[in-house]
């Protein structure tokens, strides 16, 4: 039985009267990689931010395991150039004073491949290096849960595969849970145990392969992408009516409200 780390249920969020997320839900167990996918504006980052406690939901509940340690890797960081700070100091800031000297550090720097930039000013490193530095800072906290918002942003294609492989390795070695936000499908699908496809509500969720066959997923990302992702030829086990409501029951599908449109 997988230990539940964090669980968000029935999350509603609106900005200035416009609802951006309705009935959002996600749960991450230890050792599990869960990915939130969906187009821009689908509410992926919003749901992750609610779970991190950075955003207050209008409705819904987030439950965390007691004493949950979270390592967070934000989408990007803009540090004012007026602040003189090198990578090494930046990494230390995430730790309590007592933890700064512990032996974990060397290993984490090697693992994430940032040991060569520790003396550089943080504003001078490349986008790809910054992503790895952020990952290192998250890991140094010995997290139970890693939350990664678009972890491969600004990283070239070769580096992306490498970074996803690293994330999987981190999960394998440490057994921590991982919650990832991504809009890029191919590599994420391969690196994930559980996919939640969002488009202002949960479209579909489940094993990557199941999701890639889901009609709403196909509608959202296009048939060619879906076909590329799904390995087997298959028949849909349910259909949608004109409002996107599911006609035949499916274990991973949640109830839909007819006001949503899946354009």
């Amino acid at each position: 039985m997988v230990e539940m780390l964090i669980e968000a249920s029935a999350i509603d969020v609106s900005f200035a009267g416009r609802q951006v997320l309705k009935h959002g839900e996600a749960r991450v167990g230890s050792g599990e990689i869960v990915t939130l996918i969906g187009p821009n504006g689908a509410g992926k980052t919003t749901l992750a931010r609610v779970m991190l406690g950075l955003l207050k939901a209008d409705k819904g509940e987030v439950r965390r395991r007691a004493d949950l340690r979270i390592g967070y890797m934000p989408q990007r960081l803009n540090i004012d150039p007026a602040l003189p700070i090198n990578v090494n100091r930046f990494l230390s800031l995430g730790l309590s004073r007592a933890d700064i000297g512990h032996g974990l550090r060397h290993g984490v720097l090697k693992e994430t491949g940032v040991d060569h930039v520790v003396e550089s000013p943080i504003q001078k490193i490349s986008g790809g290096e910054m992503q790895r530095v952020l990952l290192a800072r998250a890991l140094l906290r010995k997290p139970d849960l890693l939350v990664l918002d678009e972890p491969v942003q600004g990283v070239d294609i070769g580096g992306q595969a490498e970074l996803y492989a690293l994330i999987r390795k981190i999960r394998d070695n440490r057994g921590c849970g991982v919650l990832m936000v991504s809009h890029d499908l191919h590599m994420v699908m391969a690196a994930t145990d559980h996919v939640i496809c969002l488009n202002q509500h949960v479209c579909c969720a489940g094993h990557p392969e199941t999701v890639s066959r889901h009609p709403e997923f196909v509608a959202l990302f296009g048939a060619s992408v879906a076909a590329e992702l799904s390995i087997y030829h298959h028949d849909h086990d349910h259909q949608h009516d004109v409002h996107g409501n599911v006609i035949t029951a499916h274990e991973h599908v949640h109830e839909h409200d007819s006001e949503h449109d899946h354009g």
Binding site: L52, G53, L77, I79, L83, P84, L93, R141
Partner: protein, 264 residues
Amino acid sequence: MDDFLIRALLAGCAVAIVAGPLGAFVVWRRMAYFGATLSHASLLGIALGLLLGVETMLGVLAVCVVVALLMGLRHPALKADLLSEDTVLGILAHGTLALGLVAVAFLGDVRFDLNAYLFGDILAVTQNDLIGLYGGGIVVAIVLAIIWRPLLSATVDEELAIVEGVPVYAHRLVFMLVLAGVVALAMKVVGILLVTSLLIIPAASARELSTTPEQMAGLAAVAGCLSVAGGLWASATYDTPSGPSIVVAALVLFIVSRLVRRST
């Protein structure tokens, strides 16, 4: 050297030593306009102090604390406010300045040297003022030392700090209150119109020479003290107004630091 010059130097350095590190945070957090708002609001504090017959520095402290609370407590609800922080600061800065000028008119025949408050009167610092300045300076330094690490963490990235369990809003509020205290202290030295300059210019001069936050804070304090010494020297030699002379000296140091950067 005359006694009053020594007292002025000691007073100026007390303020410069705490204004340096605080000014570094003002620069990193882009809060220059907040500093300016505090200094504008100070005139209202002076007027209230004179009207109520209490020490003007206490009046300034009270008004600055109110402004700091208004801005510091506003932040978590920012999402709901349609006006930007910039706009709200502008309203507070000029609203309080105008209120202060109007309040001054009510003072009637009380002898009131507006210039001394606007541009400082460091040469008139007394023994008691010095005790107040050093006492206040020590309190500010202690509070800043306590919140240094979490404040730095929140300055690098607020959201990362929140996720990592730093109470960033509480620290931000404490920082604003400390800043209010420093503005009240610095008023004596350079006057309310030039207070922000003592926060920002030495810190900006220190940037180019620093590789760590602490180094920049320390160098800013040194640059501030040099500015005070230079300004007082010029003031004594050329009979120029002391407050503005200190700021001009800070400006010269800043320009030198830029030239040093160009040449390396």
